[in-house]
């Protein structure tokens, strides 16, 4: 079994889904011959042919809107937005249509589509290529918002997203695309959606994160362990709908929580996590919930990008504050 990067794992999941289900079709900008600008769809045109892997015109509203129409006809449309920064014209389609089609027709029509897009910073990309828009999507009833944090999770969550009967926005942390390799068995087994994953057990503080921030949390947890602080790490994985039970159970145990997000602070999903914990676990809290997030600034261009990205030092500092709170 070959070790896979996240790109390889996603490619494997797409190929598996296309092999298992003839209704799965992929389209997007440069996803065919070029295999996608990050090569996530590499080789799929050759394997599955031009009827199932289609290069679209440069047309984000059409990419999402065509996916809605095709999905309403029962195709499993897996559409790629080349970078999340260019998803905005597609958001009308996701909010006004994909998310609502089942509800507004009382189940007569539905929208089994996946809108994939790389997101997030840390790869010294040009302007508009590094933002984290997950909270906007997570605000929308009727959508699922799924973010993998590792190759294995990318494989299982992508399979689940494609098989899900409702629209899924699948955000891929591009900084992790080739960051690590791990064994990813091509077993066709999907991971559950709507579930958080506990990645590391610990009794002192709960770290909640998604996407690229998981790696930062793991490094931080090692540093904390060196000081005798045991951090529990939770990968939210599906932000919408949010598995609050798993997070709350952990915080009931630890009494402390640091939520880590790469996105800008205000109105981010970390705020939703914090608010839920405040509502449901107040009596168990031994310190204020902390949010470690990107600043409320425009994403800096690459030369200053590192100043923006939440990293290990800030996470450890937040945990230290939580541990030493009266």
């Amino acid at each position: 079994m070959a070790e896979q990067t996240m790109v390889g794992a996603l490619n494997m999941a797409l190929a598996r889904a296309m092999t298992d289900d003839h209704d799965v079709v992929l389209f997007g900008e440069d996803v065919g011959k070029d295999g996608g600008v990050f090569r996530v769809t590499d080789g799929l045109l050759d394997r599955f042919g031009p009827d199932r892997v289609l290069d679209t015109p440069l047309s984000e509203a059409a990419i999402a809107g065509v996916a809605v129409g095709a999905a309403a006809q029962g195709l499993r449309a897996v559409a790629e937005i080349q970078f999340s920064g260019f998803a905005y014209p597609a958001i009308d389609q996701m909010v006004n249509h994909a998310a609502r089609l089942r509800n507004r027709t009382r189940g007569r029509l539905s929208c089994p589509m996946v809108l994939r897009m790389p997101y997030g910073g840390g790869i010294r990309a040009p302007e508009h290529h590094s933002e984290s828009p997950e909270a906007m999507f997570a605000h929308i009833p009727g959508l699922r918002v799924v973010i993998p944090s590792s190759p294995r999770r990318a494989y299982g969550l992508m399979l689940a997203a494609i098989r899900d009967p409702d629209p899924v926005v699948f955000l891929e942390p591009k900084r992790r695309y080739r960051a690590v390799r791990e064994d990813v068995p091509d077993d066709g087994v999907a991971l559950p959606l709507d579930r958080c994953f506990i990645e590391r057990d610990g009794g002192d503080v709960t770290l909640v994160a998604w996407g690229a921030m998981l790696a930062e949390c793991h490094t931080a947890a090692e540093a904390l362990a060196g000081k005798g602080v045991q951090a529990e790490i939770i990968d939210v994985a599906t932000l919408k709908p949010f598995d609050a039970d798993t997070v709350c159970a952990s915080v009931e145990k630890t009494g402390r929580c640091v939520v880590v997000q790469e996105a800008t602070l205000t109105g981010g999903f970390a705020s939703e996590v914090a608010a839920t914990l405040a509502e449901r676990t107040l009596a168990a809290l031994r310190a204020p919930i902390e949010r470690v997030a990107g600043w409320d600034t425009v994403m800096p261009l690459p030369r200053l990008e590192a100043l923006y990205m939440p990293g290990v030092a800030r996470i450890v500092a937040a945990c230290d504050r939580a541990m030493s709170y009266a």
């Binding site: 679209t56 509203a61 059409a62 809107g65 129409g69 309403a72 006809q73 089942r102 009967p165 709507d194």
Partner: protein, 358 residues
């Protein structure tokens, strides 16, 4: 310099505003029964329209967008489609929807604020009324993509207004339909107005048909108040698309005789003289003139038809008004195929707090 591209836009009209044939009649129009079917649907549309406005004015229906004056454009489209084609309407396509099998009761339910009005019992694959202007155009391309990939001889038919042609998603839909040679037909119902914005302020293009040319598909204009011409021209585009020869685009010229919606007062921005003049091109009157002149129609039939339409609308309105609201939990129960565990608690709280329904 050499010329590298030229285009021309044709305009088709068959029965003019005076009810006289100006062009050759298509085969279907020589069958009086078929013409009467179209006439009947236009009259029924107008009866529904009047009742919807009356119900709105008396607080028994929500904001309603009238299709007064545009009946031929909608009925012509509906008549040109085959049952297994898919219609993606805007919000003034009552006449097309009726021919597709959407019921008057469903339409009342929709405008009355009940989602079941979009759960069409007959036209199961047709799209619901679309409120975000033009945003259904990409769906039509997607439906057509499914038809094409599955090699089904079916066509997606999408209707939107003159205002919609200014939107990016409409341009994107047309472009991808052309690039992928999709079996889809776009019908622009140019009624002269987008709320208060007149056609000329909407676009500097000489016709809205020519917007098709840039997307690599034929664009033609038709007298949208001539149901025979609409059916012919839209039908030709549909059959062309069905044969795999690519998408089509038709601009149907008509006029919005009513306010934009029941929430609008068109006298704020539009000269009443323009409306009075537009009534001379009324699509229903001209077909009646034609039918009477051809001996297929008379006073008695007209009376009977009006009575029958009134009775049908009465029955549908009564059925709508007698339909109790949906159970509160339906607010949650159609969001996802199965209710996510995360929503179960909210749903329970919602039900505990929801006022009891009678």
């Amino acid at each position: 310099m050499k010329e590298v591209a030229t285009f021309s836009i044709s305009h088709t009209g068959i029965i003019d505003a005076d009810g006289k044939a100006t062009g050759e009649l298509p085969a279907f129009a020589r069958d009086a029964a078929e013409l009467i079917r179209l006439y009947r649907t236009m009259v029924l549309t107008r009866s529904f329209d009047a009742r919807a406005i009356a119900l709105q004015r008396t607080g028994r229906l929500g904001t309603y967008g009238s299709s007064l004056g545009q009946e031929a454009a909608a009925v012509g489209v509906g008549a040109a489609m085959r049952p297994d084609d898919v219609l993606l309407p805007s919000f003034r396509e009552t006449g097309a929807q009726l021919l597709r099998g959407v019921s008057l009761r469903e339409l009342f339910l929709y405008w009355g604020g009940d989602e079941r009005g979009s759960d069409f019992q007959a036209a199961r694959e047709d799209f619901p009324i679309c409120v975000p202007v033009g945003s259904q155009a990409p769906h039509a391309a997607g439906v057509a993509l499914a038809f094409k990939l599955r090699q089904q001889p079916r066509v997606a038919v999408c209707v939107f207004g003159d205002g919609a042609t200014s939107k990016g998603d409409v341009a994107e839909a047309a472009n991808i339909a052309g690039a992928w040679n999709l079996p889809v037909v776009f019908v622009v119902v140019n009624n002269g107005w987008a709320i208060s914005v007149p056609r000329d302020a909407q676009s500097a293009a000489g016709t809205l048909a020519q917007k098709a040319i840039a997307a690599g598909m034929p664009g033609v204009q038709v007298d949208g108040n001539d149901v025979v011409a609409v059916r012919v021209v839209v039908g030709e585009a549909i059959e062309r698309a069905r044969r795999g020869e690519g998408p089509g685009w038709i601009e149907a010229l008509t006029y919005r005789l009513a306010d934009h919606t029941t929430a609008d007062d068109a006298s704020r921005y539009r000269d009443p003289a323009e409306v009075t003049a537009a009534w001379k091109a009324d699509p229903i009157a001209r077909l009646r003139t034609w039918l009477v002149a051809s001996g297929a129609w008379g006073r008695q039939q007209e009376q009977d038809l009006l009575q029958a339409c009134t009775a049908e609308v009465d029955a549908a309105a009564a059925a709508y008004l007698e339909t109790p609201p949906q159970a509160p939990e339906t607010v949650f129960d159609y969001l996802y195929a199965t209710l996510p565990a995360a929503l179960a608690e909210q749903r329970a709280r919602f039900l505990a707090e929801a006022p009891r329904h009678g």
